[in-house]
Amino acid sequence: MVNNLADILVLSTLAGLATGLGGLIVVIKRPGKKVLGFLMGLAAGIMITLSFLKLMSEAINISSLFLAASGFVIGSLLMFSLDFVLPHKYFSVDEKVR
């Protein structure tokens, strides 16, 4: 179990650090708005394809359509309700550094 936890933490930290790498690219060379629009689309495309193709398909395979659908719907509803609890905009120019 401890081994699992360590592996999971290393993997997720490395994946998370890639976000910092993206930030570093901005520091080195600031991309223009067209590139930014393209990159945001790229991030969106990866996320949606991965979610359905891997996360949802595996979830359905190892359990049932019902459990997978419940997880999906509860996840989206939670984020939706978060929109009301804390009004915000991710990725926006308005987002202040905190």
């Binding site: 490395l14 994946a15 600031r30 991309p31 949606i48 905009k89 202040k96």
Partner: protein
């Protein structure tokens, strides 16, 4: 706060995947890493455009990324006690991420103008993921 929250479910996805099958966790983590590079740019660039210093912009992206292991830690400790909920965790993370993408990422990308570039990016992102999953 808003931005940081968004990497939390990515950690849940990695942890759920790994708990079911280590290889699945690895595949998800690699795809997340590829996704996180443009995401880091999307987080840092608007902040920098808004007048914050380069360092502040970089720091925001870095802190946002480090929320990912936090989500993974919480999910691992939870799934350790509720093994049956591993597929639920996968689907839950999927639901959160698809919602955030459609509700925030794409609309905000359109605010910058150049919608066609965003659309091209979406298609490219799909292709990248197909290739990635093909290789792994």
């Amino acid at each position: 706060m808003g931005i940081s929250l968004h990497n939390f479910p990515e950690g849940i996805a990695v942890a759920s995947g790994y708990s079911y099958l280590p290889r699945l966790g690895l595949v998800i983590a690699i795809a997340m890493a590829v996704h996180n590079i443009p995401e880091g740019i999307a987080i840092a660039l608007p902040v920098h455009m808004g007048g914050a210093s380069r360092f502040a912009a970089f720091r925001l992206a870095l802190v946002s990324g480090l929320v990912e292991p936090l989500g993974a830690l919480v999910a691992t400790l939870f799934l350790e006690n509720f093994r049956d909920l591993v597929p639920f965790g996968l689907a839950f993370a999927g639901g959160v991420m698809v919602f955030v993408t459609l509700d925030e990422l794409i609309p905000v990308a359109h605010e910058h103008g150049h919608e066609h570039f965003t659309s091209l990016g979406v298609i490219m992102g799909c292709i990248v993921t197909f290739m990635l999953l093909g290789i792994l």
